[in-house]
């Protein structure tokens, strides 16, 4: 029976070596091309090759896709693909009460049970069936080997294709086309015809298996979503940041310089930009985090759009140089793809715990604009905006993303290059005497570039005299310069869009204020509660420092302000301090994003009061 449903959540899970990330990524791309709205969430271990078959070694990829608006990778899962016992152990808890488990029973033998830390006598799948789940047992490993028995490939090589069987099977189950993945395989294995043949064959075998074997009582159709008209692509957060940076450089007529040091989950930005040399991008893998930001400061001095990215520990190392960039008043974009902290923390898990570091974490009085992206596709606009502020206001800017956004993906209605606004560097006027710290009405100094005769100037980290930039230890001058630099950054609030309510009423009982990657979960919760007639609105802050001028007005239009954050209460501290409002924190610090239901429950609890 073919059943049409609004949305579905599928979780592909297996051992780190089972290729589940690739499987999930293929399923997402195909669903995006199919016209669904979607959101994805990869969840993989920090270890490159965690011990095989163990729960610690399980790699998962979750996708929520639908014909309706999708804002999160979903809550409970409809279909869990479990390639081994450990995968089921880890993710069974995430299944809906009547959810489906597609189990590769070759991954549930005694050895796999033992590796998953279970007694060898357990029959996990019977237990799951007894618990009310719909269990579909398939010998995926065996069927893959069967399909490839004449391929000439070794058993090990054959087994590597078993994820394609899974992909084909789930394509069939959800009525997807397999062509996009066939094209992908053709590209990926263009120089390895035997692997191309094997993967293609197994993908088709999986699909046909679904068709011929009557294991599934239902087949599902998820129709196209009614997204606004336009051109779309599927995009992940780090990729969108890279494209935003390249676009901003083009619109400012500046060369792009990117320096980074490998760190999870920011490295993909470096990879992406290293592969864009034909866009004039110079990427530099530095010897350490400090060198990366140092080189970026040098590139900024050279007259380029300079960018560096890292995650919490790396940002900590960059702090001193960030202070220098602030003192030099030179354009620089510093991206923090946050992960669980403190210290090395949870490298592959998500968190929002670097907000206070971003806003306050420097020696001396060094306010730096901070803006945050809320979703994978939003990364493009926010990266572009970070560059605009840095260049037009001659300041370093911190962009906050996180691991959830960096690796997650969703459809993006991409703009035309010609629709992007120009960015205007504040160049020093040629043939005029140059005073490096003379300011315009926005308190912005002008930018003189080496190579311009008559503009030779020296600057540095020592306190400088107003206008001339000469070293100065004068007490009055220091106070004046500290206040002037602060006023300059505060002035940016007049050059950003006003804060808007994302959804829900303009005034009412409850306002949920979020920032960053909690966007989707909060929006889903609020839309759902609005349907239930609850007076709740959602406001999401992009500009965290300085705040939009009208933010306070919105906050005062509601009886209660709740601030959900994936930290121990950081934005809530700032809001309470700045506006003397009794904002209520809602904190989750598990390395995982909020589920919309968690936010819904908290609001209802609050209203019960």
């Amino acid at each position: 029976m073919n059943q049409t449903i609004e949305k579905a959540t599928v979780l592909f899970a297996g051992d780190s070596g089972d290729g589940m990330q690739l499987t999930g990524f293929q399923f997402s791309n195909t669903s995006a091309l199919h016209g669904n709205d979607l959101s994805t969430f990869p969840d993989f271990p920090a270890e490159i090759r965690a011990p095989i078959g163990t729960v610690a070694g399980v790699s998962g990829f979750k996708i929520n896709f639908g014909s309706v608006e999708i804002n999160t990778p979903g809550g409970k899962v409809d279909t869990l693909v479990a390639m081994n016992a450990a995968a089921l152990v880890k993710f069974q808890i995430d299944l809906k009460s009547n959810g489906m488990i597609i189990a590769n029973i070759n991954g549930f033998d005694k050895r796999n049970l033992r590796l998953a830390g279970l007694d060898e006598s357990r029959d996990l799948l019977s237990e799951a069936r007894d618990a009310g789940f719909h269990v579909v047992e398939i010998e995926i490993t065996k069927l893959t080997r069967e399909a490839l028995k004449d391929s000439g490939l070794s058993t090990k090589e054959q087994d590597r294709s078993k994820n394609m069987f899974t992909l084909g099977l789930v394509y069939w189950l959800y009525n997807r086309e397999i062509e996009p993945s066939l094209l992908f395989l053709k590209e990926k294995f263009k120089s390895k015809p035997d692997l191309l043949m094997a993967n293609t064959k197994v993908l088709k075998t999986g699909y046909h298996f679904g068709e011929t074997i009557e294991l599934f009582s239902n087949r599902y159709t998820v129709n196209k979503a009614s997204l606004p008209a336009g051109s779309y692509r599927n995009i992940a957060g780090n990729e969108a940041i890279a494209i935003g940076l390249i676009s901003a450089a083009a619109k400012a007529h500046l060369d792009l310089f990117y320096a980074g040091y490998p760190i999870t989950p920011a490295s993909d930005i470096l990879h992406e930009l290293a592969n864009r040399k034909n866009y004039g991008v110079r990427s530099f893998q530095a010897e350490d985090e400090i060198a990366a930001i140092g080189a970026a400061v040098g590139a900024s001095f050279a007259g380029s759009l300079a960018v560096t990215a890292s995650s919490g520990p790396g940002i900590a190392l960059k702090t001193e140089a960030l202070g220098l960039a602030f003192m030099l008043e030179t354009p620089l974009v510093v991206i923090n793809v946050q992960r669980g902290g403190p210290s090395t923390g949870l490298p592959t898990k998500t968190e929002q715990s670097d907000l206070l570091q971003a806003i306050y974490g420097r020696n001396g009085e060094a306010p730096i604009p901070v803006i945050a992206t809320r979703s994978p596709k939003d990364c493009f606009a926010v990266a572009f905006e970070a560059c605009r502020i840095a260049i037009e206001h001659m300041t370093p800017v911190i962009l906050l993303s996180d691991g959830y956004i960096a690796n997650g993906s969703e459809p993006w209605r991409f703009p035309k290059a010609s629709d992007l606004a120009a960015i205007h560097p504040n160049y020093a006027k040629m043939n005029e005497a140059y005073l490096p710290y003379e300011r315009d009405a926005r308190l912005v100094r002008s930018w003189a570039i080496p190579g311009t005769a008559g503009h030779e100037y020296r600057l540095g980290g020592l306190e400088k005299e107003d206008r001339t930039g000469n070293v100065s230890y004068e007490p009055e001058n220091h106070q004046k310069m500290v206040l002037t630099r602060a006023a300059k950054v505060n002035e940016i609030a007049h050059h950003i869009p006003p804060q808007e309510i994302d959804c829900g009423p303009e005034t009412g009982d409850v306002l949920i204020v979020g920032w960053g990657s909690t966007y989707g979960a909060i929006r889903t919760a609020v839309l759902n509660m609005n349907k239930q007639g609850i007076s709740v609105a959602h406001l999401h802050i992009r500009y965290l420092f300085p705040f939009p001028m009208n933010l306070e007005k919105h906050l005062r239009n509601f009886k209660t302000v709740i601030i959900p954050e994936l930290n121990n209460g950081q934005l809530v501290k700032i809001i309470r301090e700045k506006f003397l409002i009794n904002a209520i924190p809602l904190n989750k610090i598990k390395g995982l994003p909020f589920l919309s239901i968690e936010i819904e429950d908290a609001v209802k609890e609050q209203l019960k009061g």
């Binding site: 310089f257 040098g298 590139a299 020296r458």
Partner: protein
């Protein structure tokens, strides 16, 4: 170029008061640097001085070029980013023994191996001057300072060996008071394509006075210093009493000049890496019978220059893929229209 030709050393001085202690070796180095500037043939606006933190790092304020007095140890990293984006600029890094061999050690060795075309002037005074007299990574073992009242137990760096170990493509040693020698070295450092590391022995007359006296005092310098001259034998000592260096079984010996066959003389060849390594090991503390300390250009090698390779990759990429089109980047490989 014409304008640069007309400039005088004083055109490279700024209106800022020079604030080093009276008698500091930095004055002499500043003077030599200002004096060679007109000879480089580089317009003033295309010259950039980048420094870190320390006494020497005040240097950029006194040069009427573009300049940045940055943060401790990071000048090499900052200059690297600058040079990658602007290979047209003549970039000079001003640093000290604490700045580049202690807090900035990592950036120094990585700059040397990458070989960007920049010049590093490392003012080595074997002491922390700006913080008032703690031992530095080049202070001699056992040195008593405020932070080492019982004498240091830190084995000092040998900057020449460190540089060559990091595959520096140019290493030279100069002395603040040897104005002629310094001038020659600076010009050769500028002419070298790649990272030129110039270690300059600089006397801190307040906290480490006389650290290099054996190499500057009239009474000892002929005996204690070895002037490296291209294509010439390595000789030292008084004119009447010349000693010559020679190599035997990969070890360095000295003997009276007249006692050595001409073909056994060590002829200085700055392209010879093995000999440069041996020169770098002539590093024993000065005594009356120690081998002399070499001054001049130890080593110079032409090898790939980082920012040029970076440019080549850029151009190759453009040749093979075409100049990047923003719209095709925005739309990606797979897109659809609603």
């Amino acid at each position: 170029m014409e304008i640069a030709d007309l400039l005088k050393p004083k055109d490279f001085a700024t209106d800022q008061d020079v604030r080093w202690c009276p008698g500091c070796g930095d004055y002499s180095i500043l003077k030599q640097v200002q004096s060679i500037m007109p000879d480089l043939g580089v317009p003033r606006e295309n010259i950039v001085f980048i420094s870190g933190i320390g006494c020497s790092s005040r240097f950029p304020y006194y040069m009427n070029t573009f300049g940045m007095h940055s943060i401790h140890g990071r000048a090499a990293a900052i200059a690297s980013g600058l040079k990658m984006m602007r290979k047209d600029l003549s970039v000079w890094i001003i640093t000290g023994d604490g700045d580049s061999l202690s807090i900035g050690g990592n950036h120094l060795i990585h700059l040397l191996r990458r070989n960007l075309n920049v010049n590093i002037l490392l003012f080595n005074n074997e002491i922390y001057g700006l913080t008032k007299g703690q031992f530095s990574p080049t202070s001699e073992l056992g040195k008593t300072t405020k932070s080492s009242p019982w004498g240091t137990i830190d084995h000092p760096f040998n900057p020449a060996a460190l540089a060559l170990g990091a595959d520096a493509s140019f290493f030279a040693r100069g002395l603040d008071l040897d104005t002629k020698g310094l001038r020659d070295i600076l010009l050769r450092a500028h002419a070298h394509k790649g990272t030129s590391l110039v270690e300059i022995y600089q006397n801190c007359n307040v906290f480490n006075d006389g650290a290099f006296a054996p190499y500057s005092n009239k009474s000892t310098r002929q005996r204690s210093t070895l002037l490296l001259e291209e294509g010439k034998p390595l000789l030292y000592g008084e004119d009447a009493n010349k000693e010559a260096l020679y190599i035997k079984d990969m070890k360095v010996y000295s003997a009276p000049l007249e006692s050595i066959d001409a073909e056994d003389l060590w002829i200085h060849d700055s392209k010879d890496a093995m000999k440069a390594h041996l020169l770098s090991r002539l590093f024993d503390p000065y005594t009356e019978d120690s081998l002399p300390r070499p001054f001049g250009v130890f080593y110079q090698e032409d090898r790939l220059v980082y920012e040029e390779e970076m440019d080549k990759q850029l151009h190759t990429s453009i040749q093979s893929k075409g100049i990047g089109d923003l719209d095709s980047l925005l739309q990606g490989r797979n897109h659809w229209t609603i």
